[in-house]
């Protein structure tokens, strides 16, 4: 009943991070570890359809990859003591995985290497999905709507960069920890936001991409249970994703927050998000960037309607967020909250300040919010011009249609 190729993919998805991490610890070389693991997958694709799926597929793949490592060194005649020892300890294929090894620490090292600062953002995203998410190159290409060759090149290049920079298989030291953690969480959130508000393609959002990011975030929280922002990132994504079911009309056009049927929000998911935020808060180290965003999302998720939302609290949370992580998008969102809390006139002042400062130039966000505020102030002609500008700036076809419809309605 199970398709062999898809079974290998499923096993890879579940086991790859642990397999690559184990191999990387033994060889101190992530690039080689990944190559060896990939070769083991090729072996599995060849053998499993005939021999059947082994009882412990992860251990099988690890053992085959380790064997290949030793073969490689034998060929290179560099079988030093280290690899001789490795050969002695090699379990037979199919044996149970070694118990009690500090695998989690190795997977965490792998996470930090996939998001290493020597890599470009795009490379970090591709490597994270590949090494930690266990996605194939084809799956990553499909998620990002780009050709397979593009992702292949990104991964090859990323691996060359890691090799050239001689990045060791180590977690960052304490002085770098905060920045490096920020980078890891940022990569995962970037994957989520691309799924949540797709900047490319014909669909408003791509839940498959967002779900991959959510899975990665849960993995990170499991690896770093003492990091409040890791839990907060899970909370933020769960709370935002809880609205997926209510964000689209039957014809694929988006429904904005104010018009969403809140009964169709995923309340189990909201509960999971609140639990994750509570876990972050329970660590007692205050709220960071993601926790504040999650708290804002929680205000929306628990409000019975737009009118009954605690907008004043949302404004406060945005102010706090703007102080610890100044960002024009946060300011723009604060303006929307201010419009709800105290009216469109004061909100327009915030937006105009942003526009005067040249912030968010080239993005559809600012003109679409400005258009909304002008419309509410009865300045129809100016509002229409803003919606038309916004429509010209967005690459998302669904969003463009909504903006043009708003312009036409004025």
């Amino acid at each position: 009943m199970a398709d062999p190729r898809r079974t290998v993919e499923a096993v890879w998805r579940i086991e790859s991070a642990r397999i690559v991490a184990t191999l990387a610890r033994m060889t101190n070389d992530v690039v080689l570890a990944e190559d060896l693991a990939q070769e083991a997958v090729v072996d599995a694709l060849r053998q499993w359809p005939e021999s059947g799926i082994p009882q412990n597929p992860g251990a099988w793949l690890t053992a085959v990859a380790k064997r290949r490592a030793i073969d490689t060194w034998r060929r290179r005649e560099r079988l030093d003591a280290r690899y001789r020892a490795m050969a002695h300890n090699l379990p037979s294929a199919g044996a149970a995985a070694d118990a009690g090894e500090p695998i989690d620490d190795d997977v965490l090292r792998l996470v930090f290497i996939a998001c290493h600062p020597v890599l470009a953002r795009e490379a970090q995203v591709a490597l994270t999905l590949r090494l930690i998410g266990g996605l194939t190159t084809e799956e990553i290409a499909r998620l990002f709507l780009v050709p397979v060759a593009t992702i292949q090149q990104r991964i090859v290049r990323a691996k060359k960069t890691l090799a050239a920079a001689k990045v060791p298989f180590e977690a960052p030291d304490p002085t770098e920890w905060r920045a490096r953690l920020g980078s890891v969480l940022g990569v995962v959130y970037l994957i989520f936001t691309e799924g949540y508000a797709a900047t490319a393609g014909d669909h408003w959002m791509r839940t498959d991409l967002a779900n991959e990011a959510l899975r990665l975030a849960r993995v990170l929280a499991g690896l770093m249970p003492r990091e409040p922002e890791a839990h907060a990132l899970v909370a933020l994504m769960e709370l935002q994703a809880s609205r997926f079911g209510a964000r689209l009309r039957a014809d694929g056009t988006p429904i904005l927050l104010a018009d969403q049927d809140r009964g169709r929000w995923d309340h189990a998911q909201i509960g999971r998000g609140q639990a994750a935020l509570a876990r972050a808060d329970a660590l007692g180290r205050g709220r960071g960037n993601y926790a504040l965003q999650a708290a804002i999302a929680e205000c929306h998720a628990t409000a019975p309607s737009v009118a009954d939302t605690d907008w004043a609290r949302i404004v406060l949370l945005y102010e706090a967020l703007g102080r610890i992580a100044p960002n024009p998008v946060v300011e723009l969102n604060k303006a929307v909250a201010v419009a709800m809390a105290t009216g469109p006139a004061s909100a327009l002042r915030i937006v105009d300040e942003l526009a005067d400062a040249g912030a968010l130039r080239g993005s559809a966000l600012l003109p679409s919010v400005r258009g909304e505020l002008l419309a509410r102030l009865g300045r129809g002609q100016e509002a229409r011009a803003e919606f038309v500008t916004a429509a010209a700036l967005t690459a998302n076809t669904r969003e463009r249609a909504v903006l043009l419809a708003k312009a036409a309605a004025l």
């Binding site: 199970a2 398709d3 499923a10 096993v11 779900n211 959510l214 849960r218 993995v219 039957a250 049927d261």
Partner: protein
């Protein structure tokens, strides 16, 4: 996609279970649950109590429905616990389900949770149409 793993056990398996070392069972199940958590696929899960005093069956054969102590009656394989997992494929669900530390006499019935796409062309969906109507009536449209 989401799957529910529904744990069922025969009476014989439940008796074996009572004789087994509870700490060993807790340890094995704990390791399984931890693996699900750490893989980021676990959404929910619980065991269900089997004491007759706490459980009952509501049978809609009559109006009003008949409430009896239960749930056993003709059920030979008791629904004794569940997990909700979120995975990318049926094969991944099979992998996770197969790793559950259960023994002979126990089964996992694995069911995919329905999604909007299961309702076919959403535009023709009477449920959606009903919700649109409800929204219009309550002034939310």
């Amino acid at each position: 996609m989401k799957y529910m793993l529904i744990m069922r056990a025969t009476e014989a398996a439940r008796q074996d279970y009572d004789k087994a070392d509870i700490n060993e069972i807790i340890e094995k199940m704990g390791a399984y649950n931890e693996a699900l958590f750490k893989a980021g696929v676990m959404l929910a899960g619980d065991g269900l109590a089997d004491s007759m005093a706490d459980n009952f069956v509501v049978d809609f054969a009559a109006d009003p429905p008949i409430v009896t102590d239960g749930p056993y009656g003709e059920t030979h394989e008791l629904f004794s616990g569940f997990w909700m997992i979120e995975v990318a494929s049926k094969e991944e669900a099979i992998q996770w389900a197969s790793r559950c530390p259960l023994g002979p006499g126990s089964k996992l019935e694995v069911r995919r949770v329905t999604e909007m796409s299961d309702f076919g062309e959403a535009a023709d969906n009477p449920v959606l149409a009903q919700q649109e109507l409800w929204r219009a009536e309550s002034g939310q449209a």
